[in-house]
């Protein structure tokens, strides 16, 4: 396989993970206009929970497939509960205050969760078990894709399809869109906006946790700090695509993932993380609303 395909494949892998995280950012922003800086920590907690569960399940002698599914599903549910609780504890009480208060609360939540995991677990890098089994049929493909990469692409695609369906056609999806456009009117039609916000946090946290589990089994190691950088980059991706827009978040994530991989592959891998922030600076100058974002027209 040539070098270019390899670089693109790795870019798409990153893009998928960013997309899983960026969805939560953009959905939460769409509804309560809050940049939830603690969102990356949910991704990290998802990975840690899966690691602990996988270790325990291995001791009990479960087979690989059972470990993969049980550890992932329980970790996702557990992280979704974290997201739900986070909103209730850190954001709901100050929902009617200035936006800066909620932002500070989010940064505090992020620091709290990072340090909580550091104290409860360790500050060292831990090896993450290869919970994704080898798929022998992958070698039949013309391009060499690892089973972890395949799993990442497949899961991201499934999540995107499910989420699109949920938001477009279900009742909760319609109430989410309504609440993001006009909360008072949504209430006047009988929508329980508190419930809509909770559901948004639950969905966003679940997809972030899924991203955390997948990327950890791809890279093979985790520590308490992985959520920070991944969270910031997913945030860049969400802003790049147009914060508040779901297709925008996905598009922004792939653009960012590919840029990083191509930049690292052809320019220098030392500057890998820099590309994300160059993109952020450029987009904020050229098109502040993002690729698919709608510029807000202030009516006077």
């Amino acid at each position: 396989m040539n070098y270019f395909t390899e670089v693109v494949l790795s870019g798409l892998t990153r893009g998928s993970i960013y997309a899983l995280i960026a969805l939560g950012y953009t959905m939460v922003y769409g509804i309560i206009e809050l940049i939830n800086f603690a969102h990356g920590e949910i991704y990290m907690i998802g990975a840690f929970t899966a690691l602990i569960l996988a270790s325990v399940l291995t001791i009990f002698g479960f087979n690989t497939i059972a470990i993969l599914f049980l550890a992932s599903i329980i970790a996702i549910v557990y992280s979704a509960m974290y997201g739900y609780t986070m909103e209730k504890v850190a954001y709901k009480p100050i929902r009617n205050s200035q936006r800066l208060s909620a932002l500070i609360s989010a940064i505090g939540m992020s620091m709290f969760l990072q340090n909580y995991v550091r104290i409860a677990q360790t500050s060292d890098f831990l090896p993450f078990p290869r919970i994704i089994p080898r798929f022998p049929w992958l070698s039949a493909l013309p391009i060499s894709m690892s089973s972890a990469q395949f799993m990442i692409f497949a899961s991201t695609a499934v999540v995107m399809v499910l989420l699109t369906f949920l938001i477009k056609f279900t009742k909760i999806g319609k109430s989410m869109r309504a609440a993001s456009q006009d909360k008072v009117m949504a209430k006047l039609l009988g929508v329980n906006v508190n419930k809509v916000i909770s559901v948004t946090f639950i969905i966003g946290s679940a997809t972030a946790a899924l991203g955390g589990i997948l990327i950890s089994s791809y890279t093979g190691q985790i520590n308490f700090y992985i959520g920070f950088l991944a969270g910031i980059k997913a945030f860049v991706a969400a802003v790049l695509g147009g914060i508040g827009s779901i297709p925008g978040a996905v598009l922004g994530s792939f653009v960012l993932g590919l840029t990083e991989s191509l930049g690292a592959g052809y320019i220098s891998s030392d500057y890998e993380d820099v590309f994300a922030f160059i993109i952020l600076a450029v987009i904020l100058i050229v098109k502040p609303a993002g690729i698919l974002g709608k510029g807000q027209i202030e009516k006077v």
Partner: protein, 235 residues
């Protein structure tokens, strides 16, 4: 049916409603008229639970609703068409209407009501797949009223349905309001600045000034009242 008992409502420290009491009987059209900033919209927002009254109580069919959440109040059968229509601009006409029936589970009846609404306002049927934000002001008002009807309310609160619309459209909207009252037996609480039109269709009216109800009578009597004539009818 609805009894507002001596409510006081505040925005922060500013008092918007002072000792307001209003009663609405089943089947009536009542109207609340008054100048800009008199507290008419606040009265409706207090009924709907968006800006709850700080003191005083509101009863709907004997049940106290002043401590309920907005969605629970809608569930009891009170829908509001707020000022400025508040159509969801990025949702289609059909989706806006679907949200009107958000709390209902009777699918067959919802479908029937949708047909009824499309019969009432054929233009909405034509535009059902169009985004709400692309409609004209009059069409948006039709959509806003239709969306509220989709909830099958027993009490419909209407806030300034004539605002910013051409006289011909206003005429049409008011005809529909009377029709909804007579055919669907929906009780109507109409807030209007266009006092003449409102009093013409209302059974009873209340006049509001700086947060207080100053006058109440039948619609016909209020139209003859000298003060009302001078202040609101411009004759």
């Amino acid at each position: 049916m609805l009894k507002i008992d001596n409510i006081n409502t505040f925005y922060g420290k500013i008092q918007a409603l002072k000792n307001v009491s209003i009663e609405v009987s089943e089947g009536e059209i009542i109207t609340l008229i008054g100048a800009n900033g008199a507290g008419k919209s606040t009265t409706l927002m207090s009924i709907s639970g968006i800006v709850p009254a700080r003191t005083g109580k509101i009863y709907f069919e004997g049940q106290e609703i002043s401590s309920l959440e907005p969605d629970q109040i809608v569930g009891l059968g009170i829908s509001q068409v707020p000022e400025g229509r508040r159509i969801f601009p990025n949702l289609t006409v059909r989706e806006n209407l679907d949200l009107g029936a958000f709390l209902r589970k009777d699918k067959a009846a919802i479908h029937k009501d949708l047909d009824m609404v499309f019969e009432l306002f054929p233009i909405l049927a034509q535009r059902r797949h169009q985004a709400g934000g692309t409609l004209s002001g009059g069409e948006q008002q039709m959509l806003a009223i239709s969306r509220a009807i989709m909830g099958r309310p027993r009490l419909l609160l209407l806030d300034e349905p004539s605002l910013g619309l051409a006289p011909l459209i206003v005429q049409q909207i008011f005809e529909i309001i009377t029709q909804i009252n007579q055919e669907n037996k929906t009780t109507i609480f109409l807030v209007e600045q266009n006092a003449y039109l409102a009093l013409k269709i209302a059974h009873r009216g209340y006049v509001m000034e700086t947060g207080t109800v100053t006058l109440t009578d039948t619609g016909a009597n209020l139209m003859q009242n000298e003060e009302v004539k001078n202040a609101y009818l411009g004759v």
